[in-house]
Amino acid sequence: MASSWGRRLDWDTGRVDMTHGAGGRAMAQLVDELFVAAFDNPLLAKKNDQAVFEVPAGRMVLTTDGYVVSPLFFPGGDIGSLAVHGTINDVAMAGARPLYLSASFILEEGFPLRDLRRIVESMARASREAGVPIVTGDTKVVEKGKGDGVFISTTGVGVVPAPVVTPSGERARPGDVVLVSGTMGDHGVAILSSREGLAFETSVRSDSAALHRLVARMVEAVPDIHVLRDPTRGGLSATLNEIAQQSRVGMLIDEPRIPVLREVTAACELLGLDPLQLANEGKLVAITDRRHADRLLEAMRADPLGTDATIIGTITEDEHHFVQMETAFGGRRILDWLVGEALPRIC
C-alpha cells in the first residue's frame, strides 16, 4: 500500500511507541493505514470522533466489555476475534440483532506492530463475517510496563426485533427447561493449553464465535424465550447459579446430558479442573417454557453453531436457589460457583 504519510509503518520489526497515541501524525497514520483500512466501512472512513447512523424503530440494546486475555493468541482465535464475538454475543443475549461496534485500544509501548496488525485483521475478519461493522474507535498508548501488550474494549449496539422478545435473567420459572447450544469448556482448555508454564498439546480449539444468527433463529421459532445467556467466565456453573439467584429458583441438571468434548474431559482430568467451570466464547444457555422446548431445540440444531444443542435440565422451586446436578455416577450434588480462579491441583 502506498503511504500518503511519508514514512512507512514497519510491519516486520516496528513497535508501538508513545507517538502512536499522542494525537500527532504518527497516530493518524496508524489509524489510517491499520484500523480504517482493515475495518473498511463508510462510517469509520469519515474519520470523525463518532459514528452517526439511523436508528431503527424498537428497543435498543447497549453493552460494553473489556478484553485482557493472556495469551493474546490461542488455538481457535485471538484477543481480536474474541473482542468482536464477545460483544456481539452480549447484544444477542437480549434477543437482539447487533448493528454496530466501537473499539478502544490501549497499547503498551514496545508492542510489535506485526502482532497489532494480526489482531486488528482478525477483528476485521470477525466483524465482516458477522456482518456487524466497527464504526468508531480510539487508540491510546501507555508506557512500557503499564499495560500487558494490548487491551481492547468494545461496545455494541443492537435492536430487539419484537416487543415480545424479552429474555432476562430473572424470568426462569419452575417447570421451565434448560438448554445449551453445544459443548462446554472448549475455550477454557484452549487458553490453558497455550498459557505459559502450563503448555500441553491438545487438539481443542476455542469455540469463539458470534451467536447472533443462532439467536435470530431461536427468537423466530420461540419469541418468548425466558432467559438467554452466554456462559463465559466461570463457565456453565456460574451462569446457572447467576440465573438461579436472579430468578429465585433452583435447578436440576442431568450431568450425562451436558455435552463435553472427550479431549476437554481428558485435559480436565489431568489438571484437576471442572469443564463446567471453564469459559466458553461461542455457546449459550437458553431457558424456555416446557411447551416450547422441542421447537426451540429444533431451531438451535438447524444452525451450524447449535448442532450439538441439547436439553440439560429443568427449573425447580427451591428457596435456597441451589443448582443441583444428578451425576453420571447416580449421586446428586450441588453445582457450585467457581471460587477464585480455576487452578490446577497440587497433587
Partner: protein, 381 residues
Amino acid sequence: MKYIDEFRDGDVARRLAAQIAKEARGARRYRLMEFCGGHTHALWRYGIVEMLPPEVEMIHGPGCPVCVLPIGRLEQAIALARTPGVTLCTFGDMVRVPARDRRSLLKAKAEGADIRIVYGSADALRLARESPAREVVFFAIGFETTTPATAVVVKQAAEEGIKNFSVLASHVLTPSAMLAILGAPGAAGGGIQVDGFVGPGHVSTIIGSQPYERFARDYGKPVVVAGFEPLDLMQSILMLVRQLNEGRCEVENEYKRAVVRGGNARAIALVEEVFELRPSFEWRGLGSLPDSALRVRERYAAWDAERRWSIPYEAVADHPACACGEILRGEKRPTDCKIFGTACTPESPVGSCMVSPEGSCAAYYAYGRLSKRRPRPDGEG
C-alpha cells in the same frame, strides 16, 4: 472416556453400595478415616457418602497439604515474599490461606510483593534461570507426592550452579500424621476412635504400602490403599468392612494399578539424598510432631531458604472461632464449626480447610450442603 468411565459406572456403584450395606452388620459400627483430602473431595463429589449404610461412617483425615500447614509457616513465606529482591513462587491454593491478622499471600501480592503462582517446582527453577537478578524462592509444600519434585529442582539447581534459587521446604510425612490421629504421645490427636484407614493413593505411589504395616501390626488398624475414582473408594470401603468383619488386620492395596509395596525406589532415593528429618514440626491441628517433616540437608544448604535468610519460626494460634484443628483431627465435622458457611466461606475463608479444594470444609460447602446425613463422629445426632 477410556480408563475413566470404567471407574465411574453408576450400576457397578449401586451394586457395590448394596454389597457394603449387606455386609455391614447392624450390631457394630465402622468408623473409617479417609486420610487424603483428594478422597474426601471424591466422596462428596460423587455422592458416595449418601450411598453408604448408616453403620459405615467416613471420618475425614488431615491429608490436605494446604490445610495442615500452620500459620507460622505461612508467616515465614509472607515475610520472605516481602523481602526486597525476592520472588516467591507458590501453588495457587496457598495464596488465599489467611495468616495472622487476616493477612495472606494474595494480600501481600496486592501490596507489591513479587509472588508468582506456579504449577510445579520446575516452573520456579525456570524463573530463577530467566531472572538472575532476582532471588527466587519456591514455597515447597505437600505430602510425599510432591517432595520428589522439590528434590529434583534442588539437585538441578546445584548441578547447574544456579545461585539465586532456594526452597522453603515444608514437606510433611503421612505416617506421622496417622500416628498422631491414633494418639501418639505428645500429639493433639487421639480424641477419636478410628477402626480403619482408607490409605492415600498418590502418596503411596511414592512411599508404597509398606509404611502402613505398623498400623496394622502395632495398632490393630486395617489399612486399604485406594485410588481416586469413585469405584476405587467404594471397593476400598468394602474391603475394610470385610477385614473388620473377619477380624483381620492387614494392609491391602486396592490401587494396584499405581501402587506397589516398596513404592518408587528412585523417588525415595532422591528424597533421601536431598532431605532429612526435622526433629520436630508444627502441624495445624495436630501440634508439634517429632520426625514428621523434612528439611534440606546440609549438603544443599545453599538452596535452603530457611538457612539463607535465617527466618525465625514463630507459632501462631488459629483464629479462636475456627475449628480447623478439631476437623483435621477428625473430632469435628465441618458443619459442627460455628462459623461454617456463615463467617467462613470459600470466598472469605477464616481457616485453611475452607480454602483448599481438598479441605473438608470446602468439600462440604461445595457438595455437601444438601446432605441430610450429618452424623457426629461420636455417633450422636
